[in-house]
Symmetry: C2
Subunit: 200 residues, 2 copies
């Protein structure tokens, strides 16, 4: 059974979607540990309610790589094979990325490379784009930049505000993350340049 | 009957799609003039075959605004209300844009703001994006940057090469351009910031 490590900073709705997929048998894996850099993250509480190991490693005032060493040690101890970022509000150091080569995933609420960074939904609305969506990608040291595993396109409606658009994207995020984890765990892909191509 | 002016530099498949939409009664407009900056543009020949006024104004070695003055004069003489760029390989000057405020459209083979500029389909493939598409937008002096009227999302398949992807996008371009022209001619929209919103 593949062991997942989840990193989050807030409510972690994508963490819950992954946990639900596992419980429903849509994903053959287990969540070995949930780590938050913020003691107030709702996701920690939710993890405990689900009977999962939930650890807070506060990042406040810590240097990036020193912090990442603590997190990596915790992930190693939990024998994590695949790291899933679910609203983890920190860039990872090169050290962290090299410790889990092509074994760290993130989800972003836009069709990257459009609208990287914070408030992607508001960026899409302000830009006046008619489609946005979500992206699950491998993580490297750059912001929202690694090879793309799965994307879902979502229409922007004339009646949308930030909240309604974010909710429509979030539904697709929950589907996309499970698909992406399943693809990575299957090993049935190769990476050509930046392009992730299925091999069966 | 609204009078359209078409600017092109090559075969002008989007010009032909617009002409087909008019002939089929899907678009209540007429093409008053087709202008190319290149004497070898296949689109000029196609325009003549359709009995349309087709004019070549060579741009070679001409300063941008001096050239644009010639084109604007020709569009004025043809009493053009809406200018449609269909593979016109030049940036327009501020002068040109101000002569036709919110009356110049362009189509681009990506979901802008991703992949502006040349070879958008190859850019999308190289980036490994799972969705691309096309965008019809108002034209300003910047490259592929004005408010967006219509977008169509197109999946990128693992089996795609540049040719197959470009062909799948082109089908949607032909649909999108007619929709966008119809919307602009209807006047049933407003522009909030960068966002084009239908008013009925």
């Amino acid at each position: 059974m593949s062991r997942l490590g989840i990193l989050l900073s807030g409510r972690g709705s994508n963490f819950e979607a992954i946990a639900d997929s596992i419980e429903a048998g849509r994903l053959d894996a287990e969540i070995a540990i949930v780590i938050s850099n913020s003691p107030r993250a709702k996701g920690l509480e939710r993890a405990r309610q689900r009977g999962l190991r939930a650890v807070c490693i506060p990042s406040k005032a810590m240097e990036r790589e020193a912090y990442d060493r603590l997190v990596v040690a915790e992930l190693r101890e939990a024998e994590v094979e695949l790291v899933c970022l679910a609203g983890f509000m920190r860039l990872l150091s090169a050290y962290f990325v090299e410790e889990f080569p092509q074994r760290i995933l993130n989800i972003h609420p836009s069709l990257l490379p459009s609208f990287p960074g914070l408030e992607a939904q508001a960026q899409a609305l302000e830009h006046g784009t008619k489609y946005t969506g979500c992206t699950v990608h491998f993580v490297d040291e750059r912001l929202d930049a690694g090879p793309i595993l799965i994307q879902k396109a979502v229409p922007v409606l004339d009646s949308d505000n930030e909240e309604s658009l974010a909710a429509r994207i979030l539904e697709q995020e929950h589907v996309a993350y499970t698909e992406a984890i399943r693809l990575v765990l299957s090993g049935a892909y190769r990476i050509d340049g930046r392009r992730v191509v299925r091999t069966r």
